[in-house]
Every structure is written in C-alpha cells, then in structure tokens.
C-alpha cells in the first residue's frame, strides 16, 4: 500500500471516531487547566484589584508580567512544578490513551468501536503491556543516546577551529535535527510495537518491540515518510496558533474567547492527527503482513493469528480459551480500520 493511501485511510478512520478525539482533547484540557490554575491564584493576589490590570488587558505586557514573577519568585516555581506534574501525569496516562486509540481502531469490535466504552476498555486492557513497553524501550533509548553522542562527536571534529563560530552554531542546529530524527525513529518503533501488540493481542511485549524494530529499520524511508507526513500536517496548526497568539491582540473579552476557542480547535485537530497517524501506521503494518502472507485470509482474523502461532503460541492458546475474545469477531479480509467503517451498517 502506498504511503499516500495509508495517510488518507488514517484520516478517514480518525474522522469516524470523534469520541476518541474529543476524549484526547478533554484530557489535555483538564491537565493544562490544573497547571494554569496554579498561576491563577497568585495572579489574582498580585494584580486582582490593581489598576495595572487595565494595562494587561490593553496588550500583552511582558514587562509587567516579568515584574510579577520577579516580585514573587515562589510563583514561578509553583507554576513550573504544576506544569511538570501535568507532564508526568500526561506521560503516565499516555499508555492508557494509546491503548484506547488502538482498541477503537481495531476492526471486529462492532459498533462499540466508536464509543467511549471501546476507548476506555482498550485503555485498561493494554495499559500494563504498553507501560511495560515504555520501560523496555530503554533498550532502544540507551543505544539511541550513544548513537547521538557518536554522531555529535563526528560533527565536532568538523569544527575544531574555535573561531568558526557560525559553523559551530550551525552544528548545534544540526545536532538538534539529529536528536529529533533519532528520537522520532524510536518513537515510531514504539508506535509499531504498540500496534503489533494490540493487533495480535500478545503479552510478549519485548518480542513485539523486536518485531517492530525489525519492521521499522527494514523500511525506514517509508515509515519515516508516513510519520513525517502526519507530523507536517500538524505543524501548520501549531504555527497558526502561535501566530494567532502573537499577532491577534486580545484586548477585549470577546477576542480572548475567540483565541481560546481557536486554540481548542487546534488541539482537537492535533488529537485527530494523532489518531489518524496511528490508523495510518496500522494500515501500513497490515499491508506488509498481508504481503508476507499471500495465502492468508485476513488481516485481523483467526487465520492470521494461526499463521503467527509459531511466534505467539501462548497467546493463541489463551485466545482460544476465551470465548468472548475479540479475535472471534472477525473483520472482513483485507480491510483495515477505515475500510471497516465503510462496511458498517
């Protein structure tokens, strides 16, 4: 399957799951609100009844805000701590949401796949495995770190002249680029590992990670192209939001509301893109599995699981013992999440 097709199908699948997208947005909003609330009280105590508030409304007055932070240094610490806690909560909860997204993308769950129950069910079902995957991913992060250090050292050799200041600046930019590249490779591998674990409902997380590593590194160009296609789709929304915040003066309550609303739209769109990315990657993975299994009868059906019995015998045994297991609800052959949507009544 072509990258473009996976990209299109990804969006199609995501668009069919608005509940998932809204849940992601809601979760994001709640955590950010908790962090922002840490600033609201001291802001109120400092500016609450002051006439300087008028100046704050007239324009974004960074000078005044700086004074506020300098006058009460504890506030800056409180806000930073609140944000850090929000990030940690987000990271801890993210495996749950990954499980929810993937479960709702998997075919064979009938109409429930669009509903919150499927999302939360999947979150709970896969949380342990995905959390373990995050821990096991150290086997990728550590070599990735060494690879980055090695490449950095190589780059440093090209700029030994201390006077080549601009070149060294460019090298810092290059190093950031390399770091992002390596970081995204590992993230992609983890994405495909999660997809594999969800699709085959396996508890053998480490093997899933190895499979995903082989898969991604075996076709790095195309996996990367797909990943960056989605990432680049998200970029204009982020840039648009930043431009809006910087150039659209929030001088009235109405304008403040407009900016906040558009910000929420931007977050919603980015949630949609994340779901689309997972769906697209699932399509991509499935297309290779199908190609390697020309005699296979389905992508997520019992037959495929049987073909993989040599690798995941325990899983197969467990699934056969569980009459309500999802794999008995077979999807139609050759269909991914997007196709499945089309065939629903």
């Amino acid at each position: 399957m072509t990258i473009g097709k996976c990209y299109g199908r990804g969006f199609k699948a995501a668009a069919a799951r608005p509940v998932v997208v809204v849940l992601l947005w809601l979760f994001n909003l709640i955590l950010a609100a908790v962090a922002a609330d840490a600033l609201a009280s001291p802001l109120d105590a400092y500016f609450g009844r002051s006439l300087t508030l008028d100046g704050l409304m007239a324009s974004f007055d960074f000078n005044t805000l700086q004074e506020f932070l300098a006058a009460d240094t504890a506030v800056a610490g409180d806000v930073a701590r609140a944000f850090l806690l929000a990030v940690i909560a987000y990271l801890l909860a993210w495996p749950f949401f990954q499980g929810g997204i993937l479960n709702s993308l998997l075919p064979g769950t009938g109409r429930t796949e669009r509903k919150a129950a499927s999302f939360f069910g999947g979150g709970g079902r896969f949380y342990g495995r995905f959390f373990r995957l995050e821990v096991l991913s150290l086997v990728l992060w550590i070599p990735a770190g060494f690879l980055f250090l090695f490449l950095s050292l190589l780059l440093d050799f090209t700029a030994t002249n201390p006077n080549a200041e601009y070149l060294r600046f460019l090298l810092v930019i290059a190093k950031i680029g390399i770091a992002l590249l390596i970081y995204n490779v590992v993230r992609m591998i983890l994405d495909y590992a999660r997809i594999g674990i969800a699709v085959y409902d396996t508890r053998r997380v480490f093997e899933g990670l190895l499979d995903a590593t082989r898969f991604v590194l075996g076709r790095l160009g195309r996996t990367f192209a797909l990943f960056y296609l989605f990432a680049l789709t998200a970029l204009p929304f982020l840039a648009g939001y930043v431009a809006l915040r910087l150039h659209f003066p929030q001088t009235t309550a109405g304008r403040v509301a407009v900016v906040f609303f558009l910000g929420q739209v931007s977050i919603l769109v980015r949630g949609l893109i994340r779901v689309a990315c997972q769906a697209g990657q699932m399509e991509f993975l499935r297309s290779f599995e199908a190609a390697q299994d020309p005699g296979g009868k389905g992508d997520h059906g019992l037959e495929e699981v049987e073909n993989r019995a040599d690798r995941y015998p325990e899983e197969l045994e467990r699934q056969e013992k569980e009459p309500n297991n999802r794999i008995e609800e077979k999807g139609e052959q050759g269909q991914g999440p997007a196709d499945h949507e089309q065939n629903e009544p």
Binding site: A32, E67, V87, W94, Y166
Partner: protein, 645 residues
C-alpha cells in the same frame, strides 16, 4: 621604511604641540612603554619609563604599583579567592596561570631600587596576593617635584576569562603594565585586584610602542603615530594619548579594521571611530557601527562633547567573551555572536554602555573600588535612556513578536526580587557577593537616578548631569560631589534622598492597602440632645457614602507621596502625605461611591519595588486575569500535545 620614518618625525613634532596646547587634565603621570608580544609563549616583555608628579604638599617616600596580572598567579590570590576562578560566568582554565614579574626598577639616575621593592596587601593582608607592590625611595619626592622610574618587566598572559589574556591568537591587554596608585589627601589609594571591582588611576600622558608579529592587527588606546615594520617579521605600532588614566590594547590576526569619521555640529565633535571586528563576526559589524554612532551622539548631546580624536571598539574573538564588555580610555570591548539575531540587542547595549564609560570612568574618573556606583550606576542610568531613545523604552533589549522587554525592566528585575544585604555605596569587595554588587552599583543606582529625574524633572536632571560632567571631568569625584552638584543645580536639599537610596540596603514600596466605600448607616439606638449638631459632618444616612483609603508604607524608605482618589462621578481628589508613618487613612463622605485610589499616580518612584500594589479599585474587572489564565492554559495545552505528536 622611509615613509615610516617621515611619519614618525611628523608625529614627534606634532605630539608635543598638541599636548601643550590642549591639556584637559592635570597630568600627574606619564608613561613611555615599549612592549613586545610573544604570541607563542603568551608572554610580554616590556620596559616602562614612568614619571609621577607629587601634587600633594607632603614628602613622598614610597610609591605603590598595581601589578594586576598577578591576580591570575595562583589559586589563592585575592581575586581567585573572591571569585572562585569565575568571572561573569566564565571559568578560568585550571592549568593556566598569568603573572607579571619586575626584572628591575631604577631611578633615572641609575639608582637600583630592586632591593627596596616588595609586595603589600593593603585591603586584606592576604599573603598569597601579589597584585600591589611598593618601592621605598632613598630620596623622598618633595611637593611639586616629579620622579622618573625605569621598570623592566615580563608577563605571562592567562587564558582570558576576566578581561585580560588570550584565547587562541586573540590577545586582550588590559591592566598589563606596572601602574602607580593615586595619592589622595596625602594617602596612597592603591587597592588589590578584587573580584567585584574595576580600577582607579591618575590622569597623564601615554606613549606606547607595541611590537607584534606583522600578521597581527592591533588596536590600542589613543591615536597611532607610527607603524614600523621590523626586520624580524614584526611590526611596531606607536600610540600616544594624553589626558587618560590607563592604556589598553588588543591584537589578533583575524581582526578586520574599519574606520569611520563621526562628526557632530552641536556640540562640536570630530572623532574617528575605529572598529576591530573579528572575522567571524563580520555579519554583525553594522550593529557595532550603528550603536557606537548612537553612543557618541547621545553622550555628547546629553553630557558634553566627546573630546578625544579616536574611539576604538574591540570585538573579542569567539571563545574570548571573558574579555568582552570592558572599558578602557578611548577603547572598549563589546561583544556579540555571529548568529545573534537583531531582535536581541546585546551588542547594542554593551556598545553603548562601554562607550559611555568613556564619560563615567574615562573622563569623570571616580574610584571604582570604593564608589563603583559613580561610574556603573550613572552609566547604567545613561544606558537606559540611550537605549530607550534609539530602540524604544518597552523593547530596547528584546524585540520579538509577542515578547518585548526594555532595559528599564531588566534593571528593575534584579532590584525587585533582591535581598536587602548591601547599600549602594560600599567598597566593592565588601559586598556580600557578586550579585549584590551588580544589582546595587548598576541597577539600584540607575533606578535611583531615574527616580531623581522624575522628582526633579527631566530638564533639571539634564542640568545636574551636564554640570557634574563639566565640573568633574578629568578629576576624581566622590559621592558627595555628585550630591552637592545635584543640590546646587536643583536648588533642593537632597540628602534625605541620597541617604536612603545610596546608604541604606532597604527598599521603597508604598501600597494602597485598604479601600472601602459604604453607605452611611442611619442612627439606631439613643443619642443625647446635643449630639445631632455634632453629627452633621458625618453624612446623610442612606444617601452618602463613607469611603476610606488606607495608604501603607510597605518598604523602609520614606518618601513624600501623592495619592489620587477617583469617585464614581469621575471626580478626582489629590492628597499628599509625607510618607513617614507606617500608614495613613483618608476618609471621604460623598454622595457617590469611591472607585479607585493610586499612590504615586505619576509614576515618579522608579525605585518602588512593586508597582501593582500602588493602586487598588473596589470592583476589579475579571477579563484581564481570565485572559492570562486562559492564555497560560493554552500554552500548556500545546506543550502537552507536543508529547503526543
């Protein structure tokens, strides 16, 4: 070769004429130095003929000298102990040292004084510090007489992290030669090299021959009178300058030299700007050119015309930032990075600030060891005004879309959140730390002067500054001298202002702490017959409002205050208060409700550490706080969403 000799002859002829014609200072000292740089060994070899005139009315038997390169001689010098081997965020190279050795010292008569030469530690008695030495004379110098000494010295330069030294083949030579102290009120003022201090010396004339390998480009204090290639592949540059109190130079083969005339009609200025820009920073050169022009214009117009024939800007090489941002007479170091965007105005600020030291330190030569605010504080005040004039008060330091910051805010930030350890006037090495030194002598002093300007008015303050410059240029003023000029020009008694702002570590903060406005209640219960008349002044029950404003002196400093009270019908009432008590209550009985009250409504007190509490209103709007809370939530949301993709 021939042309070089002609040049030398012309210069020698011209030199004495110009120096005799226009003596701006009392020229206590004279230096004739020959120095040779060994770039491989990072060494200097020099011979100096130093003359010193006894301008006091007492016999002088000892002469103290600064040997400041010895600050880098070991890890236990006073500078190293105080700084921990770090200066402005730059750390010293652990294996590298710098020093200066005196090979010989003799009078012009040939008397060898080496045996009477020894190190002294006037500030802290630190036996490991050799930054000040003293020579005992066999024959005292009578009042009015001049003594000449011939000193041979050798120096090893440190890897630069604090003003002087080398980085690769960039060399910055500041405080590099044996320099005599200042005899003030019959006592020698010659301090050791401290972490939190700069320098102090007497005015005089300098003639310095600098020999470097010919590939080096040299910049130095004063005007170049000759440039002579030698047979050994070196070139000797001769610079002369009168009416300065120090001499610095820099050399680097990667300097690109630019020269540009700066001419101003009023006041008349005609000087040559010399820029030695490191090759790697050429894309930044226009920023240097522009900001030096601005500095020359601003300081000349604000204080007095720039009198020297040259001003040289040295751009330190990458890796030599420790040499950056330092002033010397008619020469200063700025700083930049080749990739620094125009919206971050570091090179502009540093250039204007360091050029400005040509006035506050260079010409008005206060003692930087003992009263550093007189150069750093006054110069920071000038810098804030210059930056605001050329780049906009609210964006003079950072001018990004959505993120702007002015120089005044930068100065305020350090003061607003600071502790209360030191006053502004204190010996530089007696501050509790480098942070306290910087925030007091730079920022707090600058804010004090900006406050004074608001109190006196811009015109009067301009008169104060011009008079101070005119009266004290080429002399050594003290804090009292500045205060006397300010009082004289403004016609006001300012001791109270300066006692607090310069000599107290406390802060200025006035606030509106309470605000109420309630309808007058009807009388309930019983009242004597006579009381009705007495209550006539308490307002009509149910119709009038009793409004109260409580103004609070939250800080320790006492300044007279104005308070503006606004009522619902738009009426504004101005009150005055001497500000002495901890609080003062103002009560009003009016048929309208009180809306708001503001202490210092004209924003005079730039030193007030909390502007937000200066005003208070009864019914605050909610939209501004919601705007900020929602805005922050929005940024958080987008940062969190970056985690997901």
């Amino acid at each position: 070769m021939k042309r070089g000799w002609i040049f030398v002859i012309v210069a020698v002829l011209a030199g004495p004429i110009s120096s005799a014609a226009a003596s701006m200072s009392d020229r206590i000292v004279g230096y004739d130095i020959r120095v040779k740089l060994d770039p491989e060994g990072k060494r200097l070899e020099g011979r100096e003929v130093m003359s010193w005139r006894n301008a006091s009315d007492a016999l002088v038997t000892t002469l103290p000298f600064h040997l400041y390169l010895n600050a880098f001689k070991n890890n236990r010098t006073t500078f190293m102990r105080e700084s921990g081997g770090e200066h402005r965020g730059f750390r010293r190279d652990a294996s590298d040292w710098g020093w200066i050795d005196i090979r010989s010292i003799r009078t012009r008569d040939g008397e060898d004084l080496s045996s009477s030469w020894g190190y002294v530690r006037p500030d802290d008695g630190n036996p490991d510090d050799e930054t000040v030495a003293e020579v005992r004379l066999s024959r005292p110098v009578p009042p009015g007489e001049t003594i000449e000494l011939e000193v041979e010295f050798e120096a090893k330069l440190p890897k630069v992290f604090a003003r002087a030294g080398f980085a690769g083949d960039f060399f910055m030579l500041g405080q590099w030669f044996p320099k005599i102290g200042v005899l003030q009120d019959g006592v020698w003022n010659c301090h050791q090299y401290h972490a939190n201090s700069e320098f102090f010396a007497d005015f005089g004339s300098f003639r310095v021959e600098i020999t470097v390998p010919s590939k080096f480009v040299v910049g130095a204090t004063g005007r170049r009178v000759s440039s002579k290639p030698n047979d050994d592949g070196t070139t000797t540059y001769t610079h002369v300058q009168e009416d300065v109190h120090d001499f610095a130079w820099a050399a680097c083969p990667d300097f690109v030299e630019f020269r540009e005339k700066f001419v101003l009609d009023s006041p008349p200025v005609d000087t040559e700007m010399i820029f030695l820009v490191h090759r790697s920073h050429l894309r930044q050169k226009e920023r240097y050119f522009r900001s030096l022009r601005q500095g020359l214009e601003f300081y000349s117009q604000s204080y007095g015309p720039y009198p020297y024939e040259t001003i040289t800007l040295i751009d330190p090489a990458p890796g030599a930032m420790g040499a950056g941002g330092m002033e010397y007479p008619t020469l200063f170091t700025s700083m930049t990075m080749s990739y620094l965007p125009g919206c971050l105005r570091l090179p502009e600020m540093v250039t204007i600030h360091e050029f400005g030291h040509g006035y506050w330190y260079g010409m008005v030569a206060s003692n930087e060891f003992e009263e550093a605010w007189l150069d750093e504080g006054i110069n920071s005040y000038s810098e804030v005004k210059a930056m605001a004039r050329y780049y906009g008060a609210d964006r003079s330091m950072i001018d990004l879309p959505g993120l702007k910051m002015g120089d005044l805010t930068m100065q305020r930030l350090s003061v607003v959140g600071s502790g209360r350890f030191d006053p502004v006037v204190r010996k530089s090495w007696e501050f509790v730390g480098g942070g306290s030194y910087a925030l007091n002598v730079y920022s707090k002093a600058a804010l004090a002067l900006l406050t004074l300007e608001k109190i006196l008015g811009e015109e009067v303050m301009a008169g104060v500054m011009k008079t101070y410059f005119e009266r004290w240029k080429f002399r050594h003023p003290r804090s009292e001298d500045f205060i006397r000029v300010a009082e004289e020009v403004s016609g006001r008694e300012l001791d109270g202002f300066f006692d607090q702002t310069l000599r107290s570590p406390d802060k200025l903060d006035y606030a509106i702490s309470g605000l109420t406005s309630e309808k007058v209640e009807a009388l309930e219960g019983r009242l004597g017959m006579d009381a009705a008349a007495a209550r006539a002044g308490e307002g009509k029950a149910g119709l009038d409002y009793r409004s109260e404003v409580v103004v609070w002196r939250a800080g320790e400093w006492v300044f007279p205050q104005e308070i503006e009270v606004v009522f619902a019908d738009g009426m504004k009432v101005r009150e005055t208060w001497d500000g002495r008590d901890r609080w003062r209550k103002f009560v009003y009985l009016k048929p309208v409700r009180l809306v708001s009250a503001t202490v210092d409504p004209d924003g005079k007190y730039i030193l007030d550490v909390n502007w937000a509490n200066n005003s208070r209103r009864l019914d605050p709007p909610k939209a501004p706080l919601r705007k900020y809370t929602l805005g922050l939530a929005g940024w958080f949301q987008h940062l969190l969403s970056l985690i997901q993709l």
